[in-house]
């Protein structure tokens, strides 16, 4: 797998499309145990991201990630704005100056992104947040590279791991974010942020699968 600046831009645009398609779904998930704005806000953010990517001349992938991160921070609001924003900002720093990324770069990006989210939100795995989708996906990525699997298979495993993570969030009580106010009452509901994280990883998998040349 090797993605150029314009591939990554296309991928981020695809992520935006997936968020838009799932806007209502994410909002409903958030409504059940939060305040019902996750899909609306994420969609608003990624719409601006798309506009910004189209109107900005971006030289490298680090810069692209920084643009996405700053845009999400400045447009999404709520908890997910700073969290995803920080994730893209920190992830981008891992590939500063690069005009092409491979699977190893992607692992570095994910590593920094998750660290950024944890730093910002002070949550851990098991707190019923986006981390519960991202961290298993990250582990699957690392494992896949160790096993020297093809990129599409690695991403497929990461996608599965993220989905399992989403399902796991149904079983646990929230300890961070708005759903934590519900305590035990949050059990049985899947986390909106974990779901949007899964959707992003799913989009990446689909993108790479459809562009197997890369």
């Amino acid at each position: 797998m090797s993605l150029k600046v314009r591939d990554v831009a296309a991928l981020i645009e695809k992520i935006g499309d997936v968020i838009e398609e799932n806007k209502e779904f994410l909002t409903e998930l958030d409504a059940a145990i939060g305040d019902g704005d996750h899909g609306l806000n994420m969609n608003k953010g990624f719409k601006v991201v798309k506009d910004k990517m189209n109107s900005t001349n971006i030289k490298d992938i680090g810069e692209l990630f920084k643009l996405v991160g700053l845009t999400l921070i400045a447009t999404v609001g709520g908890a997910s704005g700073p969290l995803y924003g920080t994730a893209f900002m920190k992830g981008g720093m891992a590939v500063a100056g690069k005009t092409e990324v491979d699977m190893n770069d992607f692992i570095k990006i994910m590593d920094e992104a998750i660290k950024g989210i944890k730093m910002r939100g002070k949550a851990e795995a098991g707190d019923k947040t986006m981390i519960d989708a991202l961290e298993p996906a990250f582990n699957a990525l690392k494992e896949g590279v160790l096993k020297e699997l093809p990129a599409v298979d690695i991403l497929k495993n990461a996608r599965e791991a993220a989905l399992n993570g989403v399902n796991y969030t149904k079983e646990i009580a929230a300890r961070k974010g708005r759903a934590s106010y519900l305590g035990e009452r949050s059990i049985g509901h899947q986390d909106a942020g974990a779901t949007s994280s899964f959707l992003m990883i799913d989009a990446i998998y689909e993108f790479v699968k459809d562009n197997t040349k890369c």
């Binding site: 909002t27 409504a31 145990i33 939060g34 305040d35 019902g36 704005d37 609306l40 806000n41 608003k44 921070i73 400045a74 447009t75 999404v76 609001g77 709520g78 908890a79 997910s80 704005g81 700073p82 969290l83 910002r120 939100g121 929230a174 300890r175 961070k176 974010g177 708005r178 934590s180 106010y181 519900l182 305590g183 009452r185």
Partner: protein, 332 residues
């Protein structure tokens, strides 16, 4: 969705225009965003108070901008924390020589966005402190979780820290006073009906014709439980028992009372709730120093109320009584 609006996408913008047109004697809006600042901002010789949060809680927070309360209020999208750049612009617009205090309600989003703005302002050499309000006893207080939500009790923090700032106290002192209020204020709410985020177009929960939600959050977050609708006295007794359990008030203590309507509940009903609040306090020998009944921290057209108690000492009493002149909270 029956709302007096034009377009769900621009409700916050149009509201801001409506506020500025209504109250030019109090506020102006920053060009760069949905930030209201005191007309005379920056007041260089006082600590500047900045608060805000999602929209939909009017008169919070823009209604509390003015003499004796806030210097700036930052308005996010409906029920969504404002972004760091907006908070940062607010800080820059009001910061005087004595620094800035951020008054944040304890929501992950609010805390993160305000903290990021604080970091940005600090990099510019502005001294910024922050306090986090967490008055809602409906939620368990725990360091393992996000902890308690900030709800209507926040208005007492605005009022009292605002009075301290207006009196010329320095940032440490204003922060200390704000934290004293936070340590002494407890609230709990309940809802009879949901509200509708305009962009969503439908309620984010439903309640049966004979059902209510106890411990309701101000963004429609579910509370502790649902139950059958009860008489106002029973509901008030429940809210008060949860609040008092957590407060450790003794015979002879003095409190300020706030009975806050969530939006659709008529004053008539809030006064009926207030009647019981006073009765219960009287029974426990607690003296009411001052009472506020009205809409202070709303959830758009949600029906329901919250009750807040603030334990007072002489310092807090004097600051509570100090004049304030803002569109939403006036003390003469």
């Amino acid at each position: 969705m029956k709302k007096l609006i034009n377009n769900p996408e621009v409700v916050v913008e149009e509201m801001m225009q409506g506020i500025v047109l209504a109250y030019p004697q109090y506020v102006r809006k920053l060009d760069c965003g949905n930030v209201l600042v005191r007309k005379d901002a920056p007041c260089v010789d006082k600590v500047a108070l900045v608060s805000g949060g999602g929209s939909g809680h009017e008169p919070a927070h823009g209604g509390y901008v003015g003499k004796g309360m806030l210097d700036a209020a930052v308005a996010g999208a409906v029920f969504t924390s404002p972004t760091p750049d907006q908070v940062y612009e607010a800080i820059k617009a009001v910061a005087g020589d004595k620094g800035v205090l951020l008054i944040i309600k304890n929501y992950t989003g609010d805390v993160m966005n305000f903290e990021m703005a604080k970091e940005m302002a600090e990099m510019e050499g502005i001294r910024v402190e922050s306090v986090v309000v967490n008055d809602d006893v409906a939620v368990e207080n725990s360091t393992w979780t996000t902890g308690r939500r900030g709800i209507a009790g926040t208005v007492f923090v605005h009022k009292i820290a605002g009075a301290a700032a207006e009196a010329g106290e320095d940032l440490d002192k204003v922060k200390e006073v704000a934290e004293k209020v936070i340590a002494n204020v407890r609230s709990m709410g309940m809802a009879l009906t949901p509200c509708i985020v305009p962009a969503a177009g439908k309620p984010n929960f439903t309640l049966g014709e004979n059902e209510m939600e106890i411990g309701m959050g101000i963004h429609g977050e579910p509370g502790t439980h649902r139950e059958e609708l009860k008489p106002a006295d029973d509901i008030t007794t429940h809210l008060m028992s949860k609040i008092l359990e957590d407060m450790n008030l003794s015979h002879g203590d003095e409190v300020a009372v706030m009975v806050n309507g969530l939006g659709a509940t008529p004053l008539m009903e809030l006064f009926i709730v207030n009647r019981k609040v006073h009765e219960l306090l009287n029974e426990s020998g607690v003296k009411v120093y001052k009472t506020f009944v009205g809409e202070f921290m709303t959830s758009m057209e949600m029906a329901g109320c919250s009750v807040s108690l603030l334990k007072l000492d002489d310092e807090l009493k004097a600051l509570l009584d100090a004049p304030s002149d803002t569109p939403g909270f006036k003390v003469l």
